[in-house]
Symmetry: C2
């Protein structure tokens, strides 16, 4: 929070006293960060106008930008996606003289809460987080950071209920485009290695969409993209073709194996993340099937390996470096004194067409 000393006009403390609110509430209102109820906000703004208070952007930036360190909280440091994203954050932050420290939550919300506390304790200037929080209630730790004057930028995953800057990709469009490519090749039985940890497999489309709403934003968007493409082509939804549950390679092998053993089996599989693709490839081999002749394949998250497979794999490539770089730029701009825009910055993923899609066998 800004220090009151050395300002020519009235201080935040004087505005707070005039408004009859706490100093923290006045600081949040006048600093443009954190939650303040509409009623208190109105009282603070009225008091500020009456006393002629002018925000001191320099004081604000100096009071926050003291450690020149950004904290980044990722869901899984072992996922190459996040590694690439971190490189983007790091390159941008280092170019502006900021260090970056990273914590990994391994997809556990309680670890994320602990990580935010560590970053507050370590006095970082701002936080970039790929949050596991699903709603406002689960985001109290993020709000707590903001209340302490530490701006927060979401990356990879938006949290629908939160009014924060978020840098994401167009997951829905990317998933729809991949499924459309499969449909255009003639496929109608298209498996989807989706994989949020849903306790019981949804039996209907309605239940599936409801399950998506209770899981990560990213997963929900990808399911919607899959459904969009089916709907546009008037292909009926079959819940047996969607894998839910923890997306370990072992489970993918079992689940894709199950889809390949159905009487009306899948002729194409769209899968997300590395485990989804390596598991699908194992399942094909176990079933004695080849791609692209027997089963067409598209994966989500390109890698050097996908390009050297024989045949090479058609993959969705996320702009991982730019995701991180953009999140860092948004955060650094706020630390530099800009007002948080609190908007969603959406980057486009790109479908890299290689040789894993062919028409289904007649």
């Amino acid at each position: 929070m800004p220090t009151d000393r050395g300002q020519a006009g009235p201080t935040i403390s004087e505005v707070a006293a005039e408004a009859g609110v706490g100093r923290a509430t006045a600081a949040r209102t006048l600093g443009g960060y954190g939650y303040v109820s509409p009623e208190l906000r109105a009282r603070v703004l009225a008091a500020a106008e009456k006393l002629g208070y002018r925000a001191n952007a320099l004081a604000r930036s100096m009071s926050t930008g003291v450690s020149h360190t950004l904290g980044v909280i990722v869901a899984d440091i072992g996922n190459p996606f996040f590694a690439g994203l971190l490189r983007g954050v790091s390159d941008t932050a280092r170019a502006r003289g900021f260090d970056v420290i990273v914590l990994s939550t391994y997809e556990k919300l309680e670890e994320e809460v602990a990580a935010v506390n560590v970053l507050i304790d370590k006095r970082v200037d701002g936080v970039i987080v790929a949050s596991a929080a699903l709603d406002r209630e689960q985001s109290a730790h993020l709000m707590a950071a903001i209340d302490r004057g530490i701006p927060v930028v979401l990356v990879d995953r938006a949290v629908s209920a939160l009014d924060l800057d978020a840098v994401v990709i167009d997951n829905r469009d990317a998933a729809r485009e991949a499924v459309e490519v499969l449909i255009a090749a003639g496929h109608r039985r298209i498996g989807f290695v989706w994989g949020p940890p849903v306790a019981e497999a949804p039996a209907t489309r309605r239940e599936m969409v409801a399950a998506a709403a209770r899981n990560l934003w990213t997963d929900g968007e990808r399911l919607r993209g899959y459904l969009d493409a089916l709907d546009d082509a008037h292909i009926p939804f079959d819940p047996r073709l969607v894998m839910v549950g923890p997306k370990t390679e072992e489970r993918v092998v079992t689940e894709v194996g199950r889809m390949l053993a159905l009487p009306d089996r899948v002729t194409a599989v769209f899968c997300t993340e590395t485990d989804g693709m390596t598991g699908s490839l194992r399942a094909l081999r176990q079933a004695g099937l080849s791609y692209p002749e027997d089963v067409a394949l598209i994966g989500f998250d390109d890698s050097a390996w996908a390009a050297v497979m024989d045949p090479p794999l058609t993959m969705i490539a996320q702009p991982v470096h730019e995701l991180g770089a953009r999140a860092a730029r948004v955060l650094l701009d706020v630390l530099g004194g800009a007002e948080p825009a609190r908007e969603r910055h959406t980057l486009r993923a790109r479908l890299v067409q290689r040789s894993s899609v062919a028409p289904p066998r007649p």
Copy 2:
């Protein structure tokens, strides 16, 4: 460093005065951390014995173990090897109530120096580092941390000149075993995608070994393993079969392509890291060659992708999780009051034999 207050016996300052050395030197000697010359060490120990000084392990652990945070500095957070290692550190540290913050140096020594300063500033209790330092002179930042009472454990890379705990794998044995497997299959022209950033390609075996001594310990050990296997089989060393220079995928494609175009071309390639293998696979494809019939392949660093390649690849699997876990245990034990053993903890890598090695064509 331990606080002197509240101790019944003589203080470190009194021992230092008796020995005629600075307090920091006495603290390093008695605390069992950091470098002290043999002569000064002997003087401090003699003074301590004369005055009846007894180390106060509790005071030492309390003075250091205050933030319950470990700092980990990795060379490249984008390398799956380090991601697995970090998971090992994190699992072990979290089980003992410690948080883990990570910084990536992208193989730049100046970034590593900055990272150590950040960790000191953030008051971590101890540091685990995969250091880019090659000698004592380049390790001043690590010594500075130790001088402030922050123990340092090296991981993945030993620094030969430093007397510190180091948790590493047996790189030399692992490399030798891989090359022995290729020799046993009948190969004598064995390429090695080695890759430390050497300005000019060494022209002789002597120059190659000298270059290794000026580069990362890991790289030096792997070269020695390659040479060991050749020597045992009386295969003459040919510098044209070793790739040096930055190990980007593009350069690997070029260099392996060059080895495949030699009149007496390579019939096998042993390559390190993901870029080494994916680059080698591209080079084979560009040359119209297949593995294992035309060229045998072994890689260093197993992955889920290597197992689903067709044919699946024979790879050296490093115990990445255990590397990190062991480094964390060594560090946490020191923070708990144990004397640093200052030893090298060597874990074994494992050769996973799959189907990328066949005899050379007759």
